[in-house]
Subunit: 212 residues, 2 copies
DNA sequence: GTCTATATTGAGATAGAC
DNA sequence: GTCTATCTCAATATAGAC
């Protein structure tokens, strides 16, 4: 609601992301906001309610965007690339929320209050696995691909980049995404077809630009 | 040294892995061991020294095994597959240590005492990146592969499986590893060469067995 | 090697004045 | 919306008896 509230919540998210939820004290949050710890409780019920709001806000938005991408349609590789792009964009733009989610989800899932985390995770799995299954059926993806297993590898590889991606670092998020997409779609093995006739039809093939 | 000590340490590792280091109390560990909290301090200096021993023991062993694999030699794809196999084996066999490492490394690195975690991580990066670079030079891996970026994706995708891999679950660790290696080496895109002449020479190509 | 007993610290949260 | 003051609880760790 109020601007002050958002400000404090954003500050808390930064601290949760950096030190961990359990190791961040309400006094530290209050210090950062320039008030005393007791005053925090004018804005929030509890420390838990802060992290709940941080995560639910992020997940609501992300779920809506992902749903929209799938509803837009397109062939499976295209939709998959859009989803991957969406996730990497979240790593860059909502880094603190993603970091908090990655670091605390295991702990938070112990409490009924955070059951929505599992619900969102299940929804996402359903969405992505659906795209992968369509791709297998359409012949775009390998016949022997196992969508559920592939999804977990894709999901984890993307979200966990939040641990090392740094804005302003050596690689932009777009470069990281393209590098990942190249590995995901074509693997790391040298392609002996290169230089031959265009043997493959893929929409907007992601290619790493050369370094330097 | 003593058996009792190992027993308690193993119990503590289980608890750290499940609830998180910060949320596990020395009283809970003591309860689990059937003694009172004060008695723990006969075996250990502090709670921190417990997690330090859990992680350093695991990392020492893993570093030695990885070093041995590389010294064995072989062409880069072969060595890479051995390293991947080693890491997945650790996920299965030392699940608690891997889980604790994944979940707590960010927090622990704040303290000088745990600087060895960064040292081990740097060593590992050097080792794996070396293998990837060799493979690019030898022509086994794509020319445009970026070894450091690729390493991070590989590392994270493997270690983080500890969050969902369950012994006795639907997939054995070997199946998960093979599925991952297939994605890593060849990507998820359908291979139109299939059924044509053997266009590719790769040692022991990992293929997912069919489901069912 | 464990227990009894406790020191010490710091956490989240509350009530009411301003 | 913040402060003052404080409650309450639980945490790590210690000292010395057994």
């Amino acid at each position: 609601m109020t601007e002050r509230r958002e400000e404090i919540l954003s500050l808390a998210a930064d601290m949760f992301a950096e030190r961990g939820f359990g190791s961040t004290t309400v006094r530290e949050i209050a210090d950062g906001a320039g008030i005393l710890s007791g005053s925090l409780y004018h804005h929030f019920d509890s420390k838990e309610s802060m992290i709940e709001e941080i995560l639910s806000t992020f997940l609501d938005e992300f779920a809506a965007k992902a749903q929209a991408v799938v509803e837009e349609g397109g062939d499976p590789p295209e939709v998959l690339q859009k989803l991957v792009t969406l996730a990497f964009a979240a790593v860059a733009e909502d880094a603190t929320a993603v970091a908090v989610m990655q670091n605390e989800v295991g702990f938070l899932l112990q409490f009924p209050r955070f059951a929505f985390l599992r619900k969102r995770a299940d929804e996402a799995e359903h969405l992505w696995v659906g795209v992968l299954e369509s791709g297998v059926k359409s012949g775009a993806f390998r016949r022997d691909l196992e969508p559920r297993l592939a999804y977990r590898f894709i999901r984890d590889a993307i979200w966990i980049t939040v641990r090392w991606y740094r804005p302003g670092g050596r690689r932009t998020i777009d470069e990281i995404r393209d590098s990942y997409l190249a590995m995901l779609l074509d693997g790391i093995t040298a392609d002996r077809r290169r230089g031959g006739p265009a043997a493959r039809a893929r929409p907007s093939p992601p290619r790493r630009r050369r370094r330097g």
